[in-house]
């Protein structure tokens, strides 16, 4: 059925486009369309990019912390988890976070396997790294082929993400281009801009409808 | 400069003072004004309701009229009818000689305020109007012809006129041609919102560039007992709008 449908649909498209070509004519193909308007942040330096990033994301209620090296970042994450009263914590498989896990146990946290969705529903917090940040939009970029954080960043009510300060790119187009490897897109690329939100009841904003109620970003790197 | 004035059928039959005002304004701006009584209606009611066969003879009538006028510009005291003239080419197939003639006409057809400000470069016509007025952006003038600043500039130069912008000045009044009688309750609900905005300005007059919108707004204002009156921008620019105290005592 689907094969016949394919031929019918493509045939109908071609027939209609042929009629259009005979009538009013058709525009050139995509390649004839010039480049998109250039974003002003493309000329910004790293410091300006981080400032722009924060200016975008902080008004959405996201806490952004700036620290020095990775150890400092992990120490801060542990402090934030304690402050939030988190007991069970899911951590992605990022190498940078392996130390967080071991010391976490010492610190009295209970670790949850990042792939165990049932356990994740009971976790208090999820921690992962972001592969990039986007200054234009204040977004985190999560590439699921690089780290197991698809569910860690979604299911627990608190999501803490580490972001290296050199990984803040100017705009969406750059982030998308960088996400391709030899023209190949990752299995899942997730852009995250703030906590889960809804305004479906009388347009009143409520955070944490399905995904995390709170998002914190720890920017690190000397 | 010779201009052919197309007063539009509504002005001609229902609100002739607007045509008279347009003549005065154009003459005071130094134009020689011609009016061809053979041109009746632009055909918009039929065109907008889907009856192109009935609109086409009107397009031909106006195109011929303008071609015979020898005028440099066609001027209309209506954004809606001027926009209709800009639609004329769509009534004729590619290759039909009428299409080229329609395009040539469309290029020379201007709404009054746009003509004064953008073509003649005139914004002060020496008029006086001691009243509080609020401006309603008629949709076709605003969105088809891009007239937003022109009428405001013209009104800004009218002596003793106080212009108070209403909320949602660019919101539709709900007229919409046959829409106003096909869906009368809906059309009225939309104009009620406009009347609310007008009332909030406490204006003596609501002013616009299209008689059709003015009939809709005026019709509802009168029915709900408002004292705000509707006048056309040409009447204001021609100094034909009296102070309200004068009117009430008259």
């Amino acid at each position: 059925m689907s094969r016949a449908a394919r031929e019918t649909i493509l045939g109908a498209i071609r027939k209609r486009l042929r009629e259009a070509r005979l009538g009013e004519g058709l525009p050139e193909d995509r390649d004839a369309v010039g480049p998109a308007p250039r974003h002003r942040l493309l000329d910004a330096d790293a410091e300006q990019l981080l400032t722009a990033f924060r200016a975008r994301i902080e008004p959405l209620g996201v806490l952004v912390h700036e620290v020095g090296g990775l150890d400092e970042a992990l120490e801060l994450v542990r402090a934030r988890l304690r402050d939030a009263g988190a007991r069970t914590v899911a951590c992605s498989d990022a190498a940078a976070l392996s130390d967080l896990l071991s010391r976490e146990l010492e610190a009295g946290f209970q670790a949850v396997d990042p792939g165990d969705s049932e356990a994740l529903f009971g976790a208090d917090a999820g921690v992962c790294c972001a592969q990039a940040g986007i200054a234009e939009t204040g977004s985190l970029v999560l590439d699921a082929d690089r780290e197991r954080h698809r569910l860690v960043s979604l299911i627990p009510p608190l999501h803490i993400a580490l972001l290296h300060r050199d990984r803040v790119v100017p705009d969406l187009a750059t982030a998308l281009r960088d996400a391709l490897t030899e023209g190949r897109a990752p299995t899942a690329l997730t852009l995250i801009t703030g906590p889960s939100r809804t305004a479906d009841i009388e347009l009143k904003l409520v955070v944490g409808v399905h995904g995390p109620k709170a998002l914190e970003i720890v920017v690190h790197g000397d | 400069m010779r201009v052919a004035l197309y007063v539009t059928c509504l002005v001609d039959q229902v609100w002739p003072s607007v045509g008279e005002a347009a003549v005065r304004v154009l003459r005071s701006a130094g134009c020689e004004v011609d009016f061809d009584p053979r041109a009746t209606c632009c055909g918009q009611p039929a065109y907008n309701t889907g009856y192109h066969d009935q609109a086409r003879p009107q397009a031909r009538q106006w195109i011929e009229s303008f071609e015979h006028s020898g005028a440099e510009w066609a001027v209309l005291p209506s954004g809606s009818c001027a926009a209709m003239v800009h639609h004329y080419p769509r009534l004729f197939e590619r290759g039909d000689p009428w299409r080229g003639r329609a395009e040539a006409f469309a290029e020379r057809a201007k709404e009054l305020c746009g003509f004064l400000v953008d073509v003649l470069g005139v914004d002060d016509l020496g008029a006086r109007c001691p009243a509080r007025v609020t401006w309603h952006d008629a949709c076709h003038g605003l969105r088809e012809l891009g007239l937003r600043d022109e009428p405001r500039r013209l009104l800004g130069k009218v002596a003793d006129l106080e212009l108070i912008e209403m909320e949602g000045a660019d919101q539709c009044c709900g007229f919409g041609g046959t829409f106003s009688v096909k869906y009368p309750e809906l059309s009225t609900a939309i104009v009620d919102r406009k009347c609310e905005s007008v009332a909030a300005t406490d204006a003596d007059y609501v002013v616009s560039g299209d008689v059709s919108c003015l009939m809709q707004i005026e019709g509802r204002l009168r029915r709900i007992g408002s004292t705000t009156r509707a006048v056309h921008v040409a009447e204001v620019l021609a100094g034909m709008v009296p102070a309200r105290q004068q009117e009430t005592s008259a």
């Binding site: 689907s2 449908a5 394919r6 019918t8 649909i9 109908a12 498209i13 209609r16 009013e24 193909d29 995509r30 969705s117 049932e118 197991r148 979604l154 969406l172 391709l180 897109a185 299995t187 899942a188 997730t190 889960s196 305004a199 479906d200 009841i201 009388e202 347009l203 009143k204 944490g208 409808v209 399905h210 995390p212 | 039959q13 002739p16 003072s17 003549v23 003459r27 020689e32 011609d34 061809d36 209606c41 009611p45 907008n48 309701t49 889907g50 009856y51 192109h52 009935q54 003879p57 949709c139 007229f175 829409f179 009688v181 309750e185 009225t188 609900a189 009939m215 019709g219 509802r220 029915r223």
Partner: protein
């Protein structure tokens, strides 16, 4: 369980009912005002000039893509298949529903979670799945509320825009046993708990597609709540349903549309989440579905391609901006349109999908004010489309082989006769002048003090178009003396005197 649309044939009656509902109108006004304000602020934030440039660019991409749609679709399908996705084609909504039900059965599904998708609403997938014995759960909060109430959505972006918090609280109290006084936070929390259990249990997740990328075979789904992320990452099988028009050529093109869509729709600079998905998971230890199916749906869309004016409607990115800007939508809301696609874009898409004979009132459900075109992020000339469809209603003929061949267009005998008479009357100058003289005489029956007021309105009911006006509005009567009479008698001569000529008495 799912509700049904009001009759698409009766916009007039549906609209009248809506106008009689003050709660609905209050909610609509608050919502459309708020979205309008937010949209303006979100545009100021990028700079108006930059936003205009983005709109031009987005439309150019859409136009160029639609002009070679077959090539881009085939490329998309080839790339998606190369990444392990299974692509299915469906000519009609029924075909798509059968296909989806089959896929769900193949996955052994009992419960299906759905994220918000206009396309699945269009084909009435929820009802079809339930008819196959499946539990189909809408997971967008607004959609879920609507599903619990047994209604249909009334807005593209905010499906439950027509319901108040009190109505929702009462509904939840009835269905979930929550506090009937609960506020929006408590109601949302209650829904979160229920839906988390559904996500955990569902074998299949069904989503729509906002954009499909030919270059990489990827699909993009954008949202704020996170339910689409759950739907596309937790169940073992993910099925995405997309119309043929969703394809864009390049991965980078997504950036342009992501800048436009949320700003135009909700006034956000970006929604909380974008999921850009390419194939099912390859690594067994990764998160995500084991199978990804993509259903490519025509359902009448290919018919829009042959003319530029109709082809433009396939550029729509379903942002909802035109709904919020439309003075008609602002008054009556989405249900009155009797279609999944309400508002101005619905008034042009629906007749093309279901036939102009059936939806013949929708092209007239507009004052042609052009506010929709002004806000459309891809610059669709909706008024031009409305005019085109109005002509289709009055003068069009169903081409042979049209799926709507059996549909009759409304006769509109009275209107047609009216316009013929009108045309006869305005075509010649004398006829026009005599006709207006006759009308001037006749109006003396109803005009008092220059207007048809409340009293004249009673009598004018006998002439339906006149009565339709005067029921709620006074009508300025014909002036005692027309402009042309004044021109002949005075104004013209003033001009001649100015030129130093004397009136000759002759007229042109």
């Amino acid at each position: 369980m799912s509700g049904s649309q009001l009759p698409v044939e009766r916009f007039d009656a549906n609209a009248r009912d809506a106008l009689g509902d003050p709660v609905l109108r209050g909610a609509l006004r608050r919502a459309t005002d708020l979205f309008g304000e937010r949209r303006r602020a979100a545009i100021d934030d990028v700079g108006a000039d930059d936003f205009e440039a983005l709109r031009d660019h987005a439309r150019a991409i859409k136009d160029a893509t639609l002009a070679h749609l077959d090539v881009h679709l085939e490329r998309f399908v080839a790339q998606a298949e190369a990444r392990g996705a299974k692509v299915h084609w469906a000519r009609t909504g029924d075909e798509a529903c059968e296909l989806l039900a089959g896929l769900c059965a193949g996955a052994g599904a009992k419960t299906v979670v759905k994220s918000k998708s206009m396309t699945t609403e269009e084909i009435e997938l929820g009802a079809a799945l339930e008819a196959h014995g499946l539990r189909s759960i809408e997971t967008d909060l607004g959609e879920w509320i609507i599903q619990q109430a047994g209604e249909v959505p009334s807005h593209i972006i905010v499906p439950a825009i027509h319901k108040t918090k009190a109505q929702i609280a009462a509904l939840f109290a009835d269905k979930l046993g929550t506090d009937p006084e609960a506020d929006e936070k408590a109601l949302t929390a209650a829904a979160r708990d229920v839906l988390r259990r559904e996500f955990a249990a569902a074998e299949v997740g069904i989503s729509g597609v906002n954009f499909a990328v030919a270059e990489t075979g990827s699909i993009l789904i954008l949202e704020n709540e996170g339910n689409a992320r759950f739907t596309t990452s937790l169940p073992k099988v993910h099925i995405a349903v997309m119309g043929i028009e969703k394809v864009v050529p390049r991965f980078e093109d997504l950036a342009v549309f992501l800048k436009l869509l949320p700003r135009s729709g909700t006034g956000q600079h970006l929604t909380s989440y974008q999921s850009i998905l390419t194939g099912p998971k390859q690594d067994p230890s990764a998160d995500g579905p084991e199978e990804l199916h993509i259903v490519v749906l025509d359902n009448g869309r290919s018919r829009f391609l042959d003319q530029a004016v109709t082809r433009a409607s396939l550029a729509c990115i379903r942002c909802g901006a035109c709904l919020n800007a439309c003075p008609v939508y602002q008054q009556v809301g989405g249900h009155a349109y009797g279609s999944v696609y309400p508002g101005p874009i619905g008034a042009v898409i629906t007749p093309q999908l279901v036939g102009v004979g059936k939806a013949s009132q929708l092209p007239y459900a507009s004052s042609l004010c052009g506010a929709c075109r002004e806000v459309c992020p891809v610059r669709i000339d909706i008024p031009a489309l409305l005019l085109h469809l109005r002509q289709e209603v009055t003068e069009g003929h169903e081409p042979s082989g049209s799926p709507f061949g059996a549909q009759r267009r409304p006769a509109k005998r009275g209107e047609r006769l009216g316009f013929r008479l009108w045309s006869f009357g305005v075509r010649g100058r004398l006829r026009y002048e005599w006709g207006s003289a006759l009308a001037r005489f006749g109006q003396r029956l109803v005009v008092r003090g220059g207007y048809v007021g409340k009293v004249g309105a009673l009598l004018s009911r006998l002439a339906p178009p006149l009565g339709a006006w005067t029921g709620t509005r006074d009508l300025r009567g014909l002036a005692p003396r027309s402009f042309r009479a004044r021109w002949r008698q005075e104004l013209r001569h003033q001009e001649l005197r100015r030129q130093g000529l004397t009136p000759s008495g002759g007229e042109r």
